[in-house]
Symmetry: D4
Subunit: 172 residues, 8 copies
């Protein structure tokens, strides 16, 4: 098994179905990754060790997803200098606005690359990781360009589908 280049961390196993979106992208691009649970508040020791050992263990990027007062990404970013991508998760009555602000509003000196709240954000975390890795891997750049084309193609197909719907409406 290849050494993971990306670490996906989440604050609770209940975030798995969201964070799995990031993992799916990494598998799609054939990038070895690891996945674990670590809580900034409930298991700070583990989180710290995870963050501190990340670079040494060969990780290039950490993707961290959490809800509420979502400190996970920021906590990790305070302990490493590899890029940290934050995914705010909707897990409280405030619908993710809390997680978004707690993830993005980092002070000078400790950035977290923040994604959209929820599922789209997790998927994009995977893609941003690919973009970062691609800077020294032309094969990934190729794949990302293909992915972009594929997206455009899918939109094209949706356009055809909608245009058909439009014609049908006419006949009614």
């Amino acid at each position: 098994m290849k050494n993971p280049l990306v670490g996906i961390v989440m604050g609770s196993s209940s975030d798995l179905s969201i964070m799995e979106e990031a993992a799916a992208i990494l598998r799609h691009f054939d990038i070895p990754y690891e996945m674990t649970v670590a809580s900034a508040h409930r298991s700070p020791e583990k989180t710290r060790e995870y963050a501190r050992s990340a670079q040494r263990r060969g990780l290039n990027i950490i993707i961290a997803g959490a809800g509420g007062a979502a400190h996970l990404a920021g906590f990790i970013a305070s302990e490493t200098v590899i890029p940290v991508i934050g995914v705010p998760i909707e897990s409280t009555p405030l619908r993710g606005m809390d997680a978004l602000l707690a993830t993005v509003q980092m002070p000078s000196g400790v950035p977290v690359a923040t994604m959209a709240v929820g599922r789209s954000g997790a998927k994009n975390a995977g893609i941003l990781a690919m973009q970062i890795l691609s800077l020294h891997r032309p094969d990934l750049t190729e794949k990302l360009l293909e992915y972009k084309e594929e997206m455009a193609h899918q939109v094209e197909e949706m356009g055809t589908e909608v245009a058909k719907h439009r014609e049908t409406s006419d006949k009614v």
Copy 2:
């Protein structure tokens, strides 16, 4: 010098004018306290040591003030079991709503006793600390009751002042 019972921590020395409100209350009630700067993100090592040594060093309560993605209070609460009081500080264009949500929306298991955003919150952090300490110090209870009476008295005086203003308006 007496051993401090309360530690006041802030994320930056620019928060001092706000957090001084908490200190003023502690001095008013004659409670030994200490005051320092520690950043969850920029000096995590120091913050952790501070939090971990707190109980051993005799602190009963920690008051932590921070702005933006305000993780300071939550970070400390993850490392100690003494009560942690959080003061959200307005330090970004989002006017403290970010600091409030990042402080208060803590996950199950790690509470932060959150105060109002800004100056009133800092002052109330001092008073809540007094209330906690008073549970085993009847003298503090006495002082808190006097403080409450004094507040009511001040409101009474403001009422008199406003009533006078009202009479003057009449004559105009």
Copy 3:
């Protein structure tokens, strides 16, 4: 039956399933508590008497949960000098933002130790109460440290579960 040390108050019996989270913590730590309904707006007389008699009746802490223009915790805090912990409850279309602001934005002089909106907040209210009581009960400190370790352990187990999921994904 032992004299209650903690009073749990809620604005309506419909808040019971939320506030029960606080009670469960108190039972877990074997702390005698009482539980009642009192409304700042619909039964102010009872609420006042409850708050005023609290200290005399031996209560050390009051936990108050309410929704909407959630005045319950602040009302009680205005009538006693023992610590009051507020739990904002989501009970209107505004999803608890109203309860949060009405609970936390207290004026100088009358603090409410505010928790997260909803279930996590209620649970944390119980834990904060334990932390306060533990200041003079080393046995509770021990139990709180065990609780913290248990949480870290649970996160560890979730991590293992997620890592397994990750391996399975690989094989697919």
Copy 4:
């Protein structure tokens, strides 16, 4: 001096410049009023007595202005059955959104007639009081109709002024 029909209460003398807008309306309509300071949190005893004695003392309406976790109007409404008009005041970094939600989101059974945040709200509190009193005083109805006409007239004049400005722009 005539017996006051309207009581204007505010949480602090610092709210006077705002609440004076309500008073000015009452003077304009020649309605006897009283004005005082009472705080739901800092002088609950006085506030309660004020609210409880209101009807007996001949008050028909109470106008209450407060900021932050603005409980003043709701507190008074819980102790009387005469109409209570609430004016949310901007006095914290959250710019009055806290005061608005804490005033308006009252539970079933205890209404507060909530006005806009700040100066306009205070003025409108005075006018709503007039509208309520006018239900049994045709002279006030006349005056309110005149006031409405006068407003329309002022808007008309502003229109003329703006039209002139428009013509001048043309010549430039």
Copy 5:
């Protein structure tokens, strides 16, 4: 059939289940009322005529409920000098925050007595109407005091229920 004293207006028949709460209060207090649909935007002519004829037809108070850019109450208030009570209704993805701000933030000169968003607000609109009418009907004051007592009694009963639940928990 007695002449209606209160008019309940709503922007759409889909608001009926909410606004029925206001009507139920009026029936409870035995106050004749009328109920109709009028839209500030879709039937302005009818709304204006409704508002303009209100006083002449003997109405003392108008209760208006609407969602979204909720102009109904403000529109009516611009055409009459009898008190207008506004009920913001949750009818868009923005969950009633739009209706609240569009109802409460009225300019100087044209007040709308704004209630909480939704069901509680509609019920309270009915009670506020009673409070206004009671100023010249001591019998209504009596009934309102009874209603207040009944509420306190209900809370008391909920307290008993919750205390029982608490005892049961103990035995588990």
Copy 6:
């Protein structure tokens, strides 16, 4: 088939059920339209070509609906000088507030005529398109006036329905 005068574009085929509201209005007024999917972010090339060719192809108006960081309408408006109508769609946990702000807060020089979030907004986009086209087609003005009357009539009927409900309540 007549040349389309209005283009309806959406960011994804999942927005179709919302945007169909706009199309239904255009069919009702017998205006030829086209419908497609184009994404500002996933198919920028197609979107640009669509926007750039719009005027040449005879389109008078473009209606664009999108969710999240909804750039579609603004993107199109940057590439054409025909009027662009934006419909914010609720498609993330932030309930459309993100789409609203991303659509409406356009910089000086590039307007987007923004509608309400969701279904009502899509329908109104269709009506605004009719209003614009009607400036040179008196027949459309006639139809719009009829539509307005029909709306008023429907409200009238809802009023009758509600009044009946009111009478029934009385008898209960």
Copy 7:
């Protein structure tokens, strides 16, 4: 003097400095316009007459700016079928969020083409008016295309300026 094609209406003469941005655009494009003050709430009669006579008087478009519970644009849109453009103005402590929601969240059937809050919104209202008028005036289309080019040119120049700044920084 030519017959005005566009009417600019504002809720108060204090909105003039904002709404003048729209007027400046109209003058730049040499479109005759008129400008007045009309308040949905303070001068409904005038506002209605203004809206009702608009089409008859030859107006093609109305631009309406207002703050707070900004009903002006919606009010006008309810009385005419020519396009109405709404400009939310920041005039209360809630910083224009109230005006934005009260303007944009219109119900089905009565659209308001909503612009950004404040100065940019007013300017864009003027440009949208030009875009609408240009549909039957190729000369305006030409001018709008020139305006677009000029904007791009200005951005180009800003780019040069910033690039220079960058070089200077290098030398420091």
Copy 8:
């Protein structure tokens, strides 16, 4: 002059004082960069060419700052597969909340690494760029670790300063 590795783009030259924070970091780390103005809405052609040529011209990362309906970063991200970092800028009455949501809430497939609103965000954009570049430049990793240490040191010094203030307070 060395070939730039990072491009800093902003929507207007008025954003320069904010975006200069990013540039200062790049200079501090001795990374060649370029700086320009490009507007998603006012100069889309230039922006597209800039984004499309970025990789070919040797840029590794683009930092894009914009306010309001801030589409700049997302626009660029739609045209390239190198990482794009977005800085939301406060430039409207909505205080940057609009820019934050318009930047961060990107749809699946097109990530923008979003930073905090304003000055801190711009600085952190520079640091995140360093972190990304450091993945293949151990010298940068060293410098980033030193930078982190220096930050911790500065916090330490602020702590000493605050502790001194605390002692002085004591003597007063």
